[in-house]
């Protein structure tokens, strides 16, 4: 009985290993007002996507929801984990309260603005 449970556990942990989420490819561009992150997460809908900010860590995670026929037998697969996950560390000059996100055709666009005091400004030289 115990042995059986051990085997089950071992199998579970193996499955966990295979279920490592995919790392979505991203483009990250900075301009004067903030940072724009674009991530390719095809198959993820608004309902299965979550964006979390915990302290200074921003995490994107999503589940691929294909409306596949139930008796579909896979014959060839390049996407074998139906999950995406990627985390970034935000620096202190970014305003984590104001993160905005939009999702269109499987591309997530995140906008992280800079804090007011972090925006570049010109310093007047007084006489």
């Amino acid at each position: 009985m115990d042995m059986k449970q051990d085997q089950l556990k071992a199998r579970e942990s193996r499955n966990d290993f295979h279920a490592t989420p995919l790392t979505p490819p991203v483009d990250i561009v900075e301009d004067k007002e903030g940072i724009t992150v674009r991530a390719d997460i095809p198959g993820v809908s608004k309902e299965t996507l979550s964006i979390d900010v915990d302290g200074d860590t921003l995490t994107i995670s999503g589940t691929v929801a294909l409306d596949a026929t139930t008796d579909l037998k896979s014959v060839y697969a390049e996407i074998r984990t139906p999950q995406y996950k990627r985390s970034f560390v935000l620096s202190r000059d970014l305003d984590t309260e104001q993160v905005s996100a939009s999702l269109a055709h499987g591309v997530l666009t995140l906008r992280v603005p800079k804090r007011e005091q972090a925006k570049p400004r010109r310093i007047e030289v007084k006489a």
């Binding site: 483009d27 990250i28 940072i35 390719d40 198959g43 409306d67 579909l72 014959v75």
Partner: protein, 150 residues
């Protein structure tokens, strides 16, 4: 643990990711029979293919495209998916770019269809960046129950 949002490429993390990719290439597709037209890992778009009793279903993961600009063709048992993905124009004054991992440019992937697929009735839909192509099987190839008479 995580890469910083503003790290530059060419650092240790990037090198480590490169190494991981190489390891994936060595071990990743080991258990899967690969087709002669299968591209190496990381090809765009990624494809999944499955069969049911009724049809062959192909999923192409092509995010960020206008569905009208995806070209799907079937010719002599070969399914070709092609198109072009252009990079989004930068908004405002670009100061720096920290990552450019997303695919941009023209793409083309070819899949050989199973013999029993009926190329005359192909259906394609595009949803959440996934192109689903359904090709029904020929009537003669569908499983049939044969009545036993007495």
């Amino acid at each position: 643990m995580y890469p910083s949002l503003t790290r530059s490429t060419g650092d240790l993390f990037a090198e480590f990711e490169g190494l991981q990719r190489q390891l994936d290439q060595l071990f990743g597709l080991r258990h899967w029979p690969s087709s002669i037209r299968a591209a190496t890992r990381g090809a765009f778009p990624a494809l999944n293919m499955g069969v049911t009793d009724q049809a062959v279903e192909i999923y192409a993961f092509v995010p960020g495209l206008d569905p009208a600009k995806i070209d799907v063709q079937v010719d002599k048992g070969l399914l070709t998916i092609s198109g072009e993905r252009t990079a989004e124009p930068a908004q405002g004054d670009k100061v720096a770019s920290y990552a450019e991992e997303r695919f941009s440019g023209a793409f083309r992937r070819v899949v050989s269809l199973p013999e029993d697929a009926d190329a005359g009735r192909v259906d394609a839909t595009y949803r959440h960046g996934v192109l689903k192509i359904t090709i029904p099987k020929r009537e003669s190839a569908k499983p049939k129950r044969i009545e036993v008479r007495d």
